[in-house]
């Protein structure tokens, strides 16, 4: 029995990581209706940037965040303004296919730069440290990851609904033309949104890299997890995204408990069940 409870708790904590994968997707979809197929590969890019930073400077991956987060934000701003802004419009094909092409480029560039060998970020003692709660040993790293996820989502929520920047995001999302009339340059606003999304992605990538080994080919899988969390939670709802991540995480750990080969499959099946039963997700944003 305790094993099952343990699986659920581990799943909840894992859900924090998935929510971090999803938050960036959710943010850019919310602001500019863009679905970034390269999102997963950008998570992996962040992990590799973390790897380079830690090996070159000999610092802890958490310290590497000080470099990787601004670097990813910068990359986000540049690809949004230099590339992705040109794809936005009523036609869904250009953004889809351009980000798909970006995904292939990123994957192969990482392969070229870092080879296909699995890599890992070394988190030191934090990786193995655990605290005992009610007879269960909870890893400090998963707990920390979950805590960071909650903090990031609370931060995004606050930014979105209580700051001038968030007001700009919502205005551009509502009506690009009218927002432009108010003096907002939408190209810049979109660039900022992507920068913010990739800053979150940087955190996700570093935490992923400490938790498990990674190689250039696994981006697609991370995109799917993030996407599933977004849809399960309901489009456009950040806290829903966290809930979606948790549900996905729990489904996976329970699946793995039944048979190790079923971990990821169980997550996909949970997603398809939610899609069948509640096509708008469990916590859809109330439309105005």
């Amino acid at each position: 029995m305790i094993e099952w409870v343990n699986a659920v708790v581990q799943g909840i904590l894992l859900g924090g990581l998935y929510a971090l994968f999803a938050a960036g997707l959710s943010l850019i979809f919310g602001v500019m209706r863009l679905v970034n197929i390269a999102h997963g590969d950008l998570i992996i890019l962040a992990a590799y940037l973390g790897l380079t930073t830690t090996t070159m400077l000999g610092v802890h991956p958490f310290v590497a965040l000080l470099i990787v987060v601004p670097a990813m934000a910068g990359i986000g701003y540049v690809i949004q303004r230099g590339l992705l802004n040109q794809t936005l419009g009523p036609d869904i094909l250009p953004p889809l296919l351009v980000t798909f092409g970006l995904s292939v480029i990123l994957q192969n560039a990482l392969l070229e730069g870092y080879t296909a060998d699995p890599q890992k970020l070394s988190g030191g003692v934090i990786e193995t440290a655990s605290v005992n709660v009610g007879g269960m040993a909870l890893g400090v790293l998963p707990l920390l990851t979950f805590g960071i996820a909650v903090a990031v989502i609370a931060g995004l929520q606050w930014m979105f609904y209580s700051t001038a920047l968030g007001r700009g995001f919502r205005a551009v999302s509502d009506n690009q033309d009218i927002a432009q009339l108010m003096g907002l340059n939408k190209a810049h606003v979109f660039g900022l949104a992507m920068a913010l999304a990739l800053a979150v992605t940087a955190i996700a990538g570093i935490l992923l890299g400490i938790r498990t080994s990674f190689d250039p080919s696994i981006g697609g899988g991370r995109l799917i997890f993030g996407f599933e969390a977004v849809i399960i939670g309901g489009l456009g709802n950040l806290w829903g995204t966290l809930a979606g991540g948790v549900i996905l995480g729990v489904a996976q750990t329970i699946g793995a408990k039944i048979d190790p080969g079923w971990q990821v499959l169980a997550g996909h099946i949970a997603f398809l069940v939610v899609l069948a039963v509640r096509p708008n997700g469990l916590f859809p944003r109330v439309s105005h």
């Binding site: 351009v98 798909f100 480029i105 392969l111 995109l223 996407f227 080969g261 990821v264 499959l265 398809l272």
Partner: protein, 340 residues
């Protein structure tokens, strides 16, 4: 006054038809003039051409942008193995049967993922493909995660000699490309094809003119899934070995296909043909450069999408008003007659 005449064929299309027929005869005779390696390459070209035509019908005409067609390629491949090994069927029976099974399976899948719109639909199809991959990896009898080979007895049942088998699998690939291009062409020429084109241009006006959009898209999805599975069967009949990662590879069966269609010209029948030729030209030229080739391919696709979204064929057509496959209608007024 005498009535205007409605025609469809153009001079270019008649010429293209003649050239196409001649090319087909030459290609069909390849076992007598081409080498073994060339025939393998040409088979691969025909199979990719088939996949590209199918994906183009789905994405370019029905607006169903899927990045999960590898689900059906792999399914068709696995059905070939399962039905011949377990069911004792002849491969040439197993492959079309795999198509039928794919069609049946695609209906419940469609009812689920049609709830997702646009790019979310795309990722939803990918999830489905992953479910397929992980599920087949669980089937121990088919080799689980490491896959299995087609038994020698089954291979030999195709033809006794090696050259006979190679000719047969070449003709199957060529034949399937011809059948699929022909079927897509005839479909687009029919009133249903006209309806599909109308949906692409304006869904709201299409439904107001009596077109059931959901049903039309479902039909396209089911038919392309079935054909894609048949092609999958043929692909793995050539490879003789299958594994979940190879069968459900997003790069091999979807990324390349998308690049082909985008570069050639999405939403045109000619596009996939030109795209396939360009793709293989690029691949054979850059084959020695490894991953660089994929980098270049990705970059080319992005540039085409941004600078010439209608692809190479779109550029040609805009410039010369050409149509090799006569889909459009032309109304010709009698020469010495005044317009109303």
């Amino acid at each position: 006054m005498s009535a205007p005449i409605v025609t469809r064929a153009t001079r270019a299309s008649r010429n293209a038809m003649v050239i196409g027929a001649v090319a087909l005869i030459i290609l069909a005779a390849a076992p007598w003039w081409a080498g073994r390696a060339d025939m393998r390459l040409m088979s691969e070209i025909f199979l990719y051409l088939s996949l590209a035509c199918l994906w183009n019908l789905m994405a370019g005409y029905a607006g169903l942008v899927s990045v999960g067609q590898q689900a059906f390629v792999g399914f068709g491949g696995y059905m070939l193995f399962a039905l011949t090994i377990w069911g004792g069927l002849h491969p040439l029976v197993a492959i079309p049967l795999g198509g039928v099974l794919a069609a049946i399976l695609s209906i419940p899948i469609a009812t689920l993922i049609f709830r997702l719109k646009g790019a979310y639909f795309a990722i939803g199809t990918w999830v489905v493909a992953e479910v397929f991959r992980l599920s087949f990896a669980q089937v121990g009898a088919l080799g689980g995660g490491s896959g299995s080979s087609l038994p020698v007895g089954i291979v030999k049942s195709l033809a006794a000699s090696r050259s006979g088998r190679e000719a047969l699998s070449y003709w199957l690939a060529l034949g399937s490309a011809v059948v699929i291009i022909g079927a897509v062409y005839l479909f687009l020429r029919s009133r249903r094809g006209l309806a599909l084109t109308a949906i692409r241009d304006s869904e709201v006006a299409a439904s107001g003119l009596g077109i059931d959009i959901w049903r039309t898209k479902l039909e396209v999805y089911v038919v392309t899934s079935a054909f894609t599975a048949v092609i999958g069967g043929l692909i793995f009949l050539q490879k003789l070995r299958i594994s979940p990662d190879a069968a459900f590879s997003v790069n091999d069966w979807t990324a390349f296909v998308i690049f082909i269609v985008v570069i050639g010209g999405i939403g045109t029948l000619e596009g996939p043909i030109i795209g396939t030729l360009l793709f293989f030209l690029l691949r054979e030229t850059l084959a020695d450069f490894g991953t660089i080739y994929l980098l270049v391919l990705g970059a080319v696709a992005i540039i085409v999408m941004l600078k010439a979204p209608k692809g190479v064929w779109g550029l040609v057509r805009d410039r010369f008003d050409l149509e090799l496959f006569p889909l459009s209608y032309r109304v010709r007024q009698q020469p010495n007659q005044k317009g109303p």
